[in-house]
Point group: C3
Chain length 673, copies 3
């Protein structure tokens, strides 16, 4: 983390002034008359709130006219919170510039790929390359840092909000000019750019830098390397917006960590491996996908990814919801107990703060139908009751603070690869990399195997098993890393259409999996997408979907074969050994229901034990303190109770469990052992 060792912001494992598990949410008192504020503080106290995020959307109130500031109301809010013992996560309000900014700078409105110029009136939209925006955002950040940088209530800076959503790219001329500067820095010469982008294809050779523009909408498919670089550029432009403010805050308010709230799986345009290197502490927003019948698996994946972004260190769940959100097609409310299970699953997976959007439901605006800690129905509601109960539970979990999760497997996750594969004109629209990852993840979730996520170039040596369900783009460095992992005794499983292209979206020489051919000892001679809804039968009574491949064995052995479809009689799943390590290749799409046929032997070989007697829907994760104490989180998603084999003490009730404990339906128990 940036400047981390310099500033030792996290030396006690947590935020300055926060002694317990963080609990609270976004607080927007500016939407309410001041007489409501006192009630807020009273109810926060009742609920056990100890941390709130404020000021995130307040630029227009704080700077009503350019350079003219009004901090009075915010002073009163912070004083009130301070008096009530609630710590402050203070926002820089740069996600929504005031109306005067747009009036002065209409050209800063972002331009979409098809040329549409977006209007203001919502949030999070601004050309990230705008110098006018840079100047204005530094000005307000500076003023905030000066005024509140020493305030004893302030524990954290919350820069902007959900960078990258709803818009992460701008195709205006200012962006184009900035993109050219970025390209000059990346490539040095136009010859290098022409080579990397393969501009000889379709006659796109550039002879002057000024000829290079954004990859705006054309008549048909645009150059994929051009688009991939524009995605990288856009990510980095927004990182630049963040670090510009962060540096102001570090300078003017040293000692207070700076973060911004990620959306680990909900904002595909941000490469969070790059972002996590810049924040002082990782914070994440997560919302269930209502249409996902097993949304708790998506939550766990998101939390594990966030912990991985944090390098295993504690992180902040900056936003989740007490019940329904308002922006999905059908916004299902959480049922009794679900919010607690969600919250404690995040905690079990490494979060040391559980915050919500938002404290009090808004009466007006675009999100008034979003649930809140204090819902429209008020303090006598089911939701506020469960919030209060959760606050009490978290208040008993100080011991867990700072403890770490230990994973038995890693899954490769690379935003650049997903960006590349998401471009158009790929072999099959059905082959969706994130869904591939989800299937592998869900298999292990159901097997109670804890997982980290890792970039393909990360140190993998600590993991008995590494899965690469969808590694379309692999650089030479990544391949070397994976090879070394297997050589070192690791067990690698690779999914279909992996190792196809390099960092320029150029096909690796040597077939469809040129990058990993030697490692896997199998060559993909041809990819064989299936028709819509198509299936292929494999040995072992398995079904593959979406995809098959024509494999040539170069030394790998056949594990499963295709029994029908375009590759009938050919290998479908292969394995090669390399010293104590193995590399397994899966050339079709296997859903979590059947993936065990491939993964079980790998887990066994890797020494990862799976308790097959446990019901699949009992979520089981542990955190480990430095002193060796283990905190076992048992979250029962089923409608029937489960008997868990466990020795230890119930952290909440103090009850001692010798050998077995009952986890009631829909409940969570936490054991110390």
């Amino acid at each position: 983390m940036s400047n981390q060792s310099d500033q030792s912001l996290l030396k006690d494992g947590w935020l300055p002034g926060v002694k317990s598990v963080g609990f609270g949410g976004d607080y927007n008192p500016e939407q309410w008359p001041e007489e409501v504020w006192a009630e807020d503080l009273d109810l926060m106290r009742r609920a056990g709130v100890n941390l709130v995020s404020i000021g995130i959307f307040s630029w227009a109130l704080l700077e009503p006219r350019p350079g003219e500031f009004d901090f009075g109301w915010l002073d009163r809010v912070i004083e009130g919170l301070h008096g009530a013992g609630v710590r402050v996560d203070l926002g820089t309000p740069t996600t929504v510039p005031p109306a005067w900014f747009w009036q002065q700078n209409p050209h800063v409105r972002p331009v979409l790929r098809d040329g549409t110029v977006l209007a203001t009136g919502s949030r999070g939209i601004c050309c990230p390359s705008s110098p006018e925006y840079a100047e204005a955002s530094v000005r307000i950040t500076t003023e905030l840092a000066k005024r509140y940088g020493n305030h004893p209530a302030v524990s954290l800076w919350h820069v902007h909000n959900e960078y990258g959503a709803p818009i992460s790219e701008c195709y205006c001329e200012v962006s184009a000019a900035s993109f050219r500067e970025w390209l000059k820095a990346r490539y040095g010469t136009l010859d290098a750019l022409n080579a990397a982008w393969g501009t000889a294809f379709w006659g796109q050779t550039y002879y002057e830098w000024t000829q290079v523009g954004t990859p705006a909408l054309s008549g048909t498919s645009s150059n994929p390397a051009h688009r991939l670089d524009f995605a990288r550029f856009s990510n980095e432009e927004l990182i630049g917006c963040f670090t510009r403010e962060r540096d102001v805050l570090h300078e003017l308010a040293p000692g207070i960590p700076v973060t911004t709230n990620f959306m680990a799986t909900n904002c595909p345009s941000m490469d969070l491996w790059k972002w996590s290197a810049e924040v002082d502490v990782v914070a994440n927003d997560h919302y269930l996908t209502a249409a996902d019948p097993l949304s708790q698996v998506g939550l766990a994946l998101d939390a594990d990814l966030t912990r991985s972004l944090a390098g295993g260190r504690p992180w902040i769940l900056m936003e989740h919801s007490s019940s329904a959100v308002n922006w999905q097609p059908r916004n299902l409310a959480k049922r009794p107990g679900e919010m607690a299970r969600n919250s404690l699953s995040h905690l079990a997976r490494g979060a040391d703060a559980i915050l919500f959007f938002q404290w009090r439901a808004s009466r007006r605006g675009a999100e008034k139908f979003h649930s809140a800690m204090l819902p429209h129905a008020g303090a006598n509601s089911r939701v506020f009751g469960e919030i209060t109960q959760l606050g009490a539970t978290l208040g008993d979990l100080d011991a867990v603070l700072g403890s770490r999760v230990r994973a038995q497997a890693a899954i490769l996750w690379d935003w650049e690869s997903f960006w590349a594969q998401d471009l158009d004109w790929r072999p099959s629209v059905d082959l969706a990399p994130r869904q591939q990852v989800r299937e592998y993840y869900e298999r292990l979730w159901r097997d109670h195997v804890t997982v980290d996520f890792a970039h393909p170039t990360a140190d993998l040596s600590g993991y008995p098993v590494v899965l690469a369900p969808a590694s379309y783009l692999l650089t030479a460095e990544a391949v070397a890393n994976l090879t070394a992992y297997v050589e070192g005794g690791g067990h690698l499983v690779v999914g279909p259409f992996s190792g196809v292209v390099d960092q320029d979206d150029a096909v690796h020489p040597g077939g469809w999996n040129g990058a990993v051919r030697d490692l896997l000892q199998v060559s993909v001679e041809e990819v064989l997408p299936l028709p819509a809804e198509g299936q292929v039968a494999l040995t072992g009574d398995l079904k593959g979907r979406i995809w098959a491949e024509d494999l040539q064995l170069l030394g790998a052995e056949t594990i499963l074969e295709y029994l029908d479809g375009p590759a009938t009689g050919r290998a479908a799943v292969t394995r090669r050994t390399l010293g104590a390590g193995t590399a397994t290749y899966v050339s079709t799409v296997l859903d979590h229901q059947v993936l065990g046929a491939v993964l079980d032997p790998v887990l066994e070989r890797a020494g990862v034990t799976v308790d097959r007697d446990l019901p699949w829907d009992l979520e089981l994760v542990s955190r480990h303190a430095e002193d060796g104490t283990e905190y076992v989180f048992a979250i029962n998603h089923a409608t029937t109770p489960v008997d868990l084999r466990v020795d230890g003490t119930d952290l909440l009730t103090g009850e001692t469990c010798a050998g077995s404990a009952k986890i009631p339906a829909g409940s969570v128990r936490i054991f110390r052992r």
Copy 2:
């Protein structure tokens, strides 16, 4: 109606010069050589046509160059019609400005929400705030009024055509400036606007009027109050276009009523409660929805809504079709007898004129595949035969003119509420307010209960039963009105997600149904949208769809309970009594098939008797003359004959029915009693 009492335009219940039920249609002789005109007049006489609409799309022919007029051909058309005894509904042609207008004023082309500038070349598109359009439309209207205002053939002015279709909003800068003036008039101060719109949410506070623009497309959801006000403004801008022309006509051609053709259910952007206050007589266009297997129910709903807009007075069916239209995906032709059933259903529901689009099918242009009174196949066709038959039938119905329909129930209908609910980010995309209304309406249609529609603030005291299937937006005034209705002994039924917001789309304090909580004696603690295709079981073997709610009883009793789903065991339908009145709340979506379980007891309690022996598909409506005579319309939509218990005289055959009459399959009979 505007100036109605001044001008007494309708003192005889009908248009000047029109002595019978109006019959005819749009007549566009300018599309044909003059030699065809004589044949037209001859065939009109054969068919019994007595009223035609002309000149609606003739601006380019009447004013070929700015300020240069050519009325010769129109003089000849009108003389011809006058000679044939056909009355004229004379259009102001302002729905399509001539090509020279667009050449001079390209900036008047409307701008869509995403910035797209529409081209000319179709119809009905123009920035409604344009001063250039205002000037040009007043000029042509003035010339028409001067030339034809005293012509003895002219019975009606037909201003423009179908205001609001296809485009009702314009996002150009001229519109933005006009919107600001409208907002100043509505709010007086920016403080009031900021409060009403809740601009504190997402940092949108305005400090200068010039900072306020249209709610054009932004990166994500725009301020809903901003959008709702823009919908109101756009409706009123078009009303302004109408009244500008109407006032010219009233001044220069006194004594001739002025109308414009509404589309009661087909143009959601116009608030016709406001429009109906401005026209001298209500006129409506209706077309069947081919994909609706029971399109006759949609027709009846539309006709009842139109009559309600007319305050119960007679109205004009300005357009419907002899057979298929041409703009739906699959344009089903009407089958023999269907056109007569449609026409007489409109008449039964209060129309005193039955007109068609159009007299003679066009050979050219966008609507040549739209049916006409005189189809491509000519005068020897089935369609023209049925038209002639209908003309004869209508010619025998003078007695019905001016008689009124008496409704036993009212259904609340509020365009502003629909606009608000139609905005994005509502709890469920499946909860469609107009479909909700249709289900309640269809239940009563099948029960032969005649229905009016009413604005929530209208006088409801005359109705034994009032239904509010979808009243998302209710003002304090509306709630007071409904409360007084129930207190006065009325029986009110309220559908789910009602009373949620006020006129600013702001959530009423006190839960999800804050506005009606006291009236219903039930509080909606949380709304519980169901997954796609989801259902919930209720007591009484019923199924709800789309939606459930978590209800807290504040005094109401439980009528039906949820047996499964997210509200298992809680109340689904409740009732409270208040004096002699009752208020029933239905918290889920019940289709017409099962709504009887809720509505039947209410009807019974309200003294509305339902004849359960009648087949559901025998449409039965009555009109009542001032002298007490009742005209019973029996429209048999079934393929088998029906025996109807009736005493009276068949208005068409003169036959006397004592106790019973047979209504043949697919036929209509009208009885006087």
Copy 3:
């Protein structure tokens, strides 16, 4: 063909210097280092390649700055090919102007109908009316013609690439001005234009030419005649781009034929009847539709259409694929043998050259996942093996060169009619003219009846049977032609919704089929589209779909009747005789499975014999040499072998077949007899 007799380019039936069946593909050596080129030539020799297309996308490399040329690399490529005995099809690279062109002329980027301005960065997009583009494209073409016009390796000029794809229309102001000139030439006066377009409808009369624009997106349906003329204009503007370059090439490089590659069925915006009159030899690109389970039928249709465009003369298959393409949703790979079957089906249907896109799979750019002759997997792959095998086979087929296909039936095909029917607001979105043609074609394909395609005004006298499955637009000239055909003893079958409009999309007087009413002796009184998924039962246990009609018999007899649906009891299929000829009318949509009930009697009456013992999936076509020799191509698409009754010699093995020959599953045999 243009200048064809002058230049006698095809006097030997083939391209200068090409002595065998052409075999090869697009060759893009500029995408590879020069060291790869030698390997290319070596592998081409191994595969039997004798013709490649080069330089198609090379403008930016050939003219790096305006007027500055670099031909060195191309010289070396051509020398290498020449040395290896590979003939050159030399592209003019005008489908992708260089980056400097766009930098100088940003206004030449095409404008879509909704106003979107496309960015550069793909291919094939340019305002076709641009004078700047004209100048630049003539300049590069001139330079190429001067440099290579006498090169002994050059056998063919390949102008541009796939004109009309992805964009064929431009709505910019320059295009509008050019459109006005085109309209002046077509109509002479505005009165004539106003009459043809029916501008009296919706008030669109023009009084100045400058008032006429493009039919850009309006609020609702635009004038269909306006749109149809714009489609004609756009087609002709692109033809003008082609002939501009062709004329340069004819002048500077006489003796070398000039072509451009059509997409017979894949680019609906080009009227290839007009294009085929301008090329010296017809060339076509064809790709299978992966989602079509019988894509070989689509291939045959496309090949037959191409041969018909060539007037029966040999043509060039300029592009097809060795395996999968990359631009469909799911790009299915060809299975072993499929590529050979595809190639030989094209050959059997008149192609004298079988070329591929492309020689060597690209590592970079938008099409790197498109298959190639030399795939990513290299020369040891299945695909390259089958390519080599195909090269050997084609090398044995010199005898077939120049022979002709004889068709027993013609199907009418008219792009203008399809354009007109494709416009909006037609009676049913389900009635798709090309799909109608496919059903009739597939019926005959399964019956082994060989088919030509013909324009409705073409000489049809040589065909025993003519089918008009979808002739919505028929001019008076076309109707006279069809009438003369039947009078001359021909047997005509007409599908529903035919003869409806004239060249201006104006309904012919006299009902819905006014143009063909007299010929068919049946009048369509009303069209009766069916609901979505609707069917109608006919006599003979048949089902019709999508559509029915209300027919009045004027002399025709009833062949089949409607048994249910909106036309119950009326005629569905009729026939009239006229001398020895007959005219059959089919008023509903019959799929190929049931069309035999209508077509079998017609074929029998016309003396076309169908061998009902042959399996339907044995494709059987013959080419006939001038000396009377017949080459029978038997392509077995089934998974079981077929015994074919045939006398003759196997052209590949030399084996003599007396009476019978076995065609193995998935194989092709060619017999001389």
